[in-house]
C-alpha cells in the first residue's frame, strides 16, 4: 500500500490501542482521516490481512443502535503498520503528523 498521510494517521490510530476493536467512525474521528478515504483503506487492509473484522454482539448493546462492525489488528498487521510508522518517522514528508504513539 502506498504510504500516504492518511495511512500513517490510521496506523497511529490503530496502534494507539492495538488490542481492542475499532469501528469506522471512531477511527475517522481519532485519525482525522475523512470517511471517504478511510473506508476504501480499511477494505484494502482487510485484503492484505492486516486487520480482521467482526460484528458487535447485538445482545451486549445497551442503547438503541444497530451492531457495529469492528476491525481488529492481526499480528501481521501490527508488524506491517509498525514498520510503516518506523519508516514514516524518519521521512521528511510526515513531520507535520502528530506523533501520539511512542
Amino acid at each position: 500500500m502506498r504510504k500516504t498521510h492518511a495511512l500513517v494517521q490510521v496506523a497511529i490510530a490503530f496502534l494507539d490501542d492495538p488490542a481492542s476493536g475499532h469501528w469506522g467512525y471512531e477511527l475517522s474521528k481519532r485519525s482525522g482521516v475523512r470517511s471517504g478515504v478511510l473506508y476504501p483503506m480499511l477494505t484494502r487492509m482487510l485484503d492484505e490481512g492486516w486487520i480482521e473484522d467482526r460484528w458487535e454482539d447485538p445482545t451486549a448493546i445497551r442503547d438503541k443502535r444497530p451492531p457495529r462492525r469492528y476491525y481488529e489488528l492481526t499480528d501481521e498487521g501490527r508488524v506491517a503498520l509498525g514498520a510503516i510508522l518506523q519508516e514514516a518517522r524518519s521521512d521528511a514528508r510526515f513531520t507535520t503528523v502528530r506523533w501520539r504513539w511512542a
Binding site: 470517511s35 471517504g36 476504501p40 477494505t43 473484522d53 443502535r65 444497530p66 457495529r68 462492525r69
Partner: protein, 183 residues
C-alpha cells in the same frame, strides 16, 4: 444539453438536494448502500455508523459515502452481476445434474426457485410447522418427479402448482382432524 444543465443548476433543484440530504440522510444512505454487492458487510456497517455521526454533519457524511460507493462499491456490484449471469446454468442443465444426485445442483435449485415455493405456501397462511411441511413436501415431489419434468422452462409454474396442492392437502387433513375431535 444546456436545458438539462439549467435544470440541474437551478435554485429549486439545489433546494431539493438540500432537503433530501438534510432531512432524510438515513434514507439516502440506504439507497447508496445498494451500490455495494449484496454480500458486502459495508451495507450494514454504513447504516450502523450513521447514527454515531452528529446530526449536523450527517448530510455531508452521507454525501461522502455516495462518493465512495460510486468508486468502490459500484464496480464490484456490476462485475458480480455480470459474473453470476455468465455462470448461470440453464434450468434443464440443473435438472440433469440433479438427476445425477449432484448436491451443488440442488442447492442452486433451492436458491433459484425457493422464493416461488415459499411465496406460494405463504399465501395459504398456514401455521409455521405446516408451512415448513408443505415446502419440504414440494421439494420431495420434485425429487420424485425429476424424470417427468418435460418443460424445464416452466418449472416455476410446476413448483407453484405442486406447492399449492400440498397446502390444500394439509388444510384438508387439518379439517378432518378437527371434525373427528368434534364428533
Amino acid at each position: 444539453m444546456t436545458e438539462l444543465l439549467h435544470v440541474v443548476a437551478s435554485w429549486p433543484s439545489l433546494f431539493l438536494v438540500v432537503i433530501v440530504f438534510g432531512f432524510a440522510p438515513g434514507f439516502c444512505l440506504r439507497l447508496i448502500a445498494l451500490a455495494y454487492p449484496r454480500s458486502d458487510p459495508r451495507r450494514k456497517e454504513l447504516t450502523a455508523e450513521l447514527y454515531a455521526v452528529p446530526r449536523i454533519q450527517r448530510p455531508l457524511w452521507v454525501a461522502e459515502q455516495l462518493e465512495v460507493a460510486l468508486f468502490e462499491g459500484l464496480p464490484h456490484r456490476v462485475s458480480a452481476v455480470i459474473r453470476s449471469r455468465a455462470n448461470r446454468a440453464s434450468t434443464a442443465e440443473l435438472l440433469s445434474r440433479m438427476r445425477k444426485r449432484e448436491r451443488a445442483a440442488w442447492d442452486e435449485m433451492v436458491h433459484r426457485y425457493g422464493t416461488v415455493v415459499t411465496t406460494t405456501v405463504r399465501s395459504f397462511r398456514l401455521q409455521d410447522p405446516d408451512a415448513l411441511d408443505a415446502v419440504q413436501m414440494t421439494w420431495l415431489r420434485l425429487a420424485e418427479n425429476l424424470d417427468r419434468i418435460k418443460f424445464p422452462e416452466r418449472l416455476d409454474g410446476w413448483l407453484a402448482t405442486t406447492a399449492r396442492r400440498e397446502c390444500l392437502q394439509i388444510l384438508r387433513r387439518g379439517d378432518r382432524d378437527k371434525g373427528e375431535r368434534q364428533s
